[in-house]
Symmetry: C2
Subunit: 359 residues, 2 copies
DNA sequence: TATCGTCTGTTAATCGGTTCACAAGCCCGG
DNA sequence: CCGGGCTTGTGAACCGATTAACAGACGATA
């Protein structure tokens, strides 16, 4: 491979001039420019991005960090990561930035990961679906390496972040259930330690109920991320007499919602005839469950795209530290939701009185 | 960020010694090594991969090139690219190689693309789903930059390549149809210019028929990649009297197979009762069509993984130029295939005589 | 004791760009 | 005709690592 000095020699000019032409970083006489370009073409010269990067301390590259394993399916093929990555790639391409991928498993050492991220290859980092409370994020936040989190992260350092507005979304979903006539709206949630987004969604649910003057009854039903856990958690629900138990179950993730549907089907409870079930995330299998799940769709491509824009701003020094974008979501109504069995008693037009107080 | 000289100063040694310790590329007294490592930790030093790359001419990075747009859906989210990429990432991670992604659209200039690929950032390149006959591939093949094609590529230069064994797969599928009792097996194919894999699949079909002593009747039915084209092409098929027309249609891509199913359904032809339809690729929608499609599944993760291994061998100088791996495929039998309507006349055990000659 | 080899550390060149500081040539006004 | 400013090209330092060549210390051997 020819170097810039080879080009300089070939056209009888200095390396500096060649560099100025190629980057047009200074005025060069048109005739000189032509001489340079001719030599570049005839030698088939391609500048070394590595040498360039070394001297400019900029590689025009962003790194994307995502988990190496996620349950059974590998993340890149999942319906969450792929669209996010797609949004990232789209913006990166438009802005002429390279993208390098980092997969990180729980077994990777923190120091090694830090070295990989901070070795100068990337001008900034995008963490997507990072494990909650990943120590490496905190370590990086103390660094001058620009960093944007896609999704939630329970971190003390407040890194830049792009996420959907979890609270607003949960509030909208709850409001939708209220509009259908539901008054006893149960919540099926992971324990808050599983993610910083959980308290937000819970808060949205609570706020919507409180706005409507409806008592949250009963409190959140916490489950672990396993099939059996959902089954156990629904025990109490199933044991309760129909007139006291929730007429709708708001599951904070589609994963749990689908499991809830399965358990209810086993007990011959009709959805949405006997009970409405809704989810959150609009995973690929949400549309395929029976009945198809009413849920909340995240704008995944936009999430990736917005995060990339924010990261590029950070790199350019144009962004405030700790800046956050909250994207709005879309309520996707499918067949798993409907009015409560006793809807006749609560006509639509009535603004949410607490049914218990009414009685 | 501290440099290697900062570390050297901090521990009262030379930069060379620090380098030797960090790469253990030469013997260093244990006590000295400790001094170095202590300084490294206390300064939180992370070597610059860029500077390292410049002097070693190795970045430990491979580039993955894939098309920017593919019909409507974007490639990275497709059921083809994502698993391939997943296989690539898996091997790269194991071999401690970085991965950078290049999307390339038809509008990108050849020279710019070449510069991007040859700027020293990547030690080698993986082309996945590259446009047939992409001129950049030929240009790169003339270079010393290691290169592996995933899939087919009608190129004069014979770059290293990993693909499924298209011919064997088509042969197996045809054989399967013969085993079911079919004797008139039609082929629905794209024109060969659409991809180098097409003639291979056609050849597999022809060879299986010829091995069985069955005349290919009729010849391949060429279609364009559009819904209407399939409709038009089936015109003749639909017009023919049942006793003369093919009892099975072998579509060389699932895309066409699904369209064929739609057209047949419109004409109230029963699949597989009246006619068997099979595809190739096992796209995500193949299992969801009605009836679910019998097809050939490609080992996509393996494809990506094998290509990456081959590329790393090329980089290490361990691979022969023009080396090819052909991976074997899996026949996925679903509901769209069955015995021909007149199977009674051709019992299973009989080895394939030409039914026309028999009569 | 002189010599040689081994072990371990240092000096300095190198990778291929960018960019600062300088200089030569030119035009212009006074 | 001289000095100042503008334009355009050059020389050389620099980015941060690697590594070849060298050098001093030390032990073994003759």
């Amino acid at each position: 491979m020819p170097t810039i000095r080879d080009v300089a020699r070939a056209c009888g000019l200095s390396a500096a001039t060649v560099s100025y032409v190629l980057n047009d970083s200074r005025a060069v006489r048109p005739q000189t420019r032509e001489r340079v370009l001719r030599a570049v073409r005839s030698l088939d010269y391609h500048p070394s991005a590595v040498a360039r990067g070394l001297s400019r301390k900029r590689m025009d590259t962003i790194g994307v960090v995502f988990p190496a394993t996620r349950e059974s399916a590998s993340p890149i093929t999942s319906s969450y990561y792929a669209p996010v990555l797609d949004g990232i790639l789209e913006v990166a391409r438009r802005e002429r930035q390279n993208v390098t991928l980092f997969q990180t498993g729980p077994r990777d050492g923190a120091r090694e990961r830090l070295s990989a991220y901070r070795d100068g290859r990337c001008d900034g980092l995008l963490f997507v679906g990072v494990a909650e409370g990943d120590e490496v994020v905190d370590a990086l936040a103390a660094t001058d390496l620009p960093l944007v989190i896609v999704g939630s992260h329970g971190s003390d350092a407040r890194p830049c972040r792009v996420d959907v507005d979890n609270e607003a979304a949960a509030r909208a979903m709850t409001r939708y259930l209220l509009d259908l006539g539901h008054r006893r709206i149960g919540l099926v949630s992971l324990a808050p330690l599983h993610g910083a987004y959980i308290p937000l969604r819970i808060e949205g649910w609570r706020a919507a109920l409180s706005d409507a003057g409806v008592a949250p009854c009963p409190g959140p039903l916490y489950v672990e991320p396993s099939e059996d856990s959902v089954r156990d958690a629904l025990e109490g629900f199933l044991a309760a007499p129909a007139e006291r138990r929730p007429t709708a179950l708001f599951c904070l993730r589609d994963v749990e919602a689908v499991r809830v549907l399965r358990v209810l089907a086993e007990r011959d409870l009709c959805v949405p005839g006997d009970v409405t079930v809704v989810g959150f995330d609009d995973r690929a299998d949400a549309a395929l469950s029976s009945p198809p799940l009413t849920t909340i769709r995240q704008p995944l491509r936009e999430k990736g795209a917005a995060a990339t824009c924010l990261l590029l701003d950070c790199i350019a020094g144009k962004a405030v530290a700790g800046q956050e974008y909250l994207l709005s979501t879309e309520l996707v109504v499918r067949a798993s939701s409907g009015p409560p069995p006793d809807v006749a008693r609560f006509p639509f037009a009535v603004p949410y009185p607490d049914p218990l107080k009414e009685a």
